[in-house]
């Protein structure tokens, strides 16, 4: 093994440790993917069920790198002007008004109001024009945007430069680290998938979820944490319309801590089940399973 390889070996292990220090319970798959995204300078597409901590990865990565996090939240109808840049029209108008008494030519006025101080940088341009350490650009829930926006994003991600007709081309000095997340509410294009590294995050196994609960809800007793995680894991195996994610487990644990529960009883589960299950049909189904005793709540 060369020394360079040793250094990179350290890097993945180190990354795991750093993620852990930031209270993110990672596993080798996550650390390896992040490391590769940093090393190969490629965007990382993270998919997984709702509430498995996809967005959190980008936030934690920014903290680990000591970089700024720039977030672009996607939604249907999101367009280039909201994502990239827009002119500050109010300010342009004000400027024109103030200049009116002086009466400079229209050409001057135009050059002035279409200059950088009048430019509103939206997340993508912010990431490209960012000074200093490359930021982490989080494109959250890309599956909510339209296909047209996806194509536009691909273009931006491929060369990290933007041309503003009035200003010229703005180029990223160093490529931002890009993380995209998707809940799979629609299929993303093959072109986008090809461009990215890929990480699928599944619901965590018992041990991992337990350690997440212990880290994030320190007030929960050992018995309570284990019982909650055990129950959530069993709920996931049942056929539910909306499967609870880790964030639901955490909400639930936090609620039970507030209620000073130190272990689960059918009554307290019945009262707080809404923290974990968000679908009326699921709630009814699981409540009746618990009442009939088919789903034991106290066991680990």
């Amino acid at each position: 093994m060369t020394s360079r390889e040793e250094a990179t070996l350290d890097r993945i292990a180190q990354l795991l440790e750093q993620l852990d220090r930031e209270a993110y319970v990672a596993d080798p798959a996550i650390a390896t993917s992040l490391h590769l995204a940093l090393e190969l300078h490629k965007p990382l597409l993270i998919e997984g069920h709702a509430g498995v901590g996809k967005t959190e990865i980008a936030k934690v990565l920014a903290r680990v790198l000591g970089a700024d996090l720039i977030r672009l939240q996607c939604y249907e109808g999101l367009d280039a002007s909201t994502a990239l840049y827009e002119w500050n029209y109010a300010r342009q108008l004000l400027h024109i008004r103030l200049q009116e008494s002086g009466g400079p030519g229209a050409v001057d006025a135009e050059a002035k109001i279409f200059s950088e101080p009048f430019l509103l940088k939206r997340p993508l341009l912010q990431a490209i024009a960012h000074e200093g350490r490359p930021p982490v650009l989080l494109v959250d829930e890309i599956d909510r945007s339209d296909e047209e926006f996806e194509a536009f994003l691909l273009e931006v991600l491929s060369d990290f430069q933007v041309t503003v007709p009035e200003l010229g081309t703005i180029r990223a000095r160093e490529r931002p680290h890009v993380i995209l997340t998707s809940n799979r509410s629609r299929e993303l294009s093959d072109a986008l998938r090809r461009r990215c590294l890929y990480l699928w995050i599944d619901h965590p196994p018992f041990a991992k979820e337990l350690s997440i609960v212990r880290r994030k809800v320190p007030g929960a007793s050992d018995a309570l944490a284990a019982q909650i995680v055990g129950l959530v894991q069993r709920l996931r195996a049942a056929k539910l319309a909306k499967v609870p994610g880790v964030s639901e487990t955490l909400d639930w644990a936090a609620a039970l801590v507030v209620l000073h529960a130190d272990h689960l009883t059918p009554e307290i589960v019945g009262e707080t089940l809404g923290c974990a299950l968000k679908d009326e049909g699921d709630l009814r189904k699981v409540r009746s399973e618990i009442e009939s005793g088919r789903l034991p709540v106290g066991a680990v």
Binding site: T8, T32, L45, S81, W87, E187, R194, Y198, K239
Partner: protein
């Protein structure tokens, strides 16, 4: 880096490609770069790195694991070649059976002659066929019928819908254009420029029964919906008989027809029969996130369910609650004396907002009202 490792990685890429995954040369190059970047060449590291680079969707994980295990099995001392022995499944191809769907959206501009697109194509396209049941056509005629169905769908897609027509002069002021204009007017925004809100696309989820006689009708429906894809709607397509398959990506393939057929024969399990309830429940738990309050869910089936009716009813209830509209298409409804008496139909009907036939061109055409309304 270990030459054997590079060799195996290349084999892995080749094998994955042969098994239908999208693995390009740049993927292979990235894979090698990734191996260099991970440093230690432990089996786990190599596995995680290659998976991160080569897999692009969760459905491919299983295949990747299988091929990885085969290619990276501990080598017999002498031959690495021996490690790469994965059975290749390349189904026989019948070029005649392959109809390209991609042409559905494109062709036809030259042929459009300005006739009223509202009209069912009975008179102009081919007299007497609009109301004939799909199953009554011979194999030779089917291609022609498909072409006509495609044309109807294209017209639907091309027609500017009443709901989306420009409302006067737009709803939002386009500040950028207004500002530009005003510069020539000594900066007085005298003339307002407008822009229109982009129309929202309808989201459609289609769940089609491909068991037995339903196969033919399902194929018509899927093709019809595919032609709406991207223009007026966002369509996700599934087929089921004993189990459920996501086929949206498959429909984009040039040989989709053949692919669908092999799929149908693959999932057929005659002794098991159709498991509608289980398939819908599988959809709800695995793909439920595709359905929201703006989604129209279309199910095509004759309702011959060999599973528990209660399970079907429950799955239907969930679907109804989460979707905007739940449409059940039963081609048998096209025959006048049909009664929806099967247990499956009985369990499903209370949750259905539209119950329609979809057995011929007229009924396919009529679907639009329910889909895009």
């Amino acid at each position: 880096m270990n030459a054997d490792l590079v060799h195996r990685t290349v084999s892995l890429c080749r094998e994955l490609r042969a098994r239908g995954m999208t693995v390009t040369t740049s993927h292979a190059m990235d894979a090698v770069r990734a191996l260099r970047a991970i440093g230690i060449e432990s089996r786990e590291r190599v596995y995680l790195a290659l998976r991160c680079v080569l897999v692009a969707r969760p459905e491919d994980l299983e295949l990747f694991d299988e091929v990885f295990a085969a290619v990276f099995s501990p080598p017999p001392e002498d031959a690495i070649e021996g490690a790469v022995r994965v059975v290749r499944r390349s189904p026989p191809r019948d070029p005649a059976a392959a109809v390209s769907l991609s042409s559905w959206g494109k062709e036809g501009e030259e042929g459009e002659d300005g006739e009223d697109p509202e009209e069912v194509p009975a008179a102009s396209d081919a007299p007497g066929i609009a109301e004939k049941d799909f199953s009554a056509f011979g194999a030779a005629e089917l291609a022609e019928i498909q072409r006509i169905a495609a044309r109807i769908a294209r017209r639907l897609a091309a027609r500017p819908s009443r709901r989306w027509k420009a409302s006067g002069r737009g709803t939002r002021i386009d500040l950028r254009r207004t500002m530009r204009r005003s510069l020539s007017n000594s900066a007085e925004p005298l003339e307002l420029r407008f822009r229109r809100r982009k129309p929202r696309k309808t989201r459609i989820v289609a769940l089609c029964d491909v068991s037995g006689s339903m196969d033919l009708y399902s194929r018509f429906l899927l093709q019809f919906l595919f032609a709406l894809q991207g223009t007026v709607a966002r369509v996700e397509s599934f087929v089921f008989s004993t189990s459920l398959r996501h086929v949206t990506a498959l429909l984009r393939e040039p040989e989709y027809g053949e692919a669908l057929r092999s799929l149908a024969s693959g999932v057929h399990d005659w002794s098991g029969g159709t498991r509608i309830g289980e398939s819908l429940a599988a959809f709800n738990s695995g793909w439920g996130q595709l359905v929201d309050k703006r989604t129209v869910v279309v199910i095509l089936s004759d309702g011959w369910d060999t599973g528990e009716p209660a399970l079907l009813g429950e799955a239907m209830e969930t679907l109804r609650r989460r979707s905007r509209r739940l449409i059940w298409l039963n081609p048998l409804l096209g025959s006048p004396d049909y009664q929806p008496l099967t247990q499956g139909m009985q369990a499903a009907l209370p949750h259905v907002s539209v119950f329609a036939p979809a057995h011929n061109l007229v009924s396919l055409r009529a679907l639009e009202r329910h889909l895009l309304a």
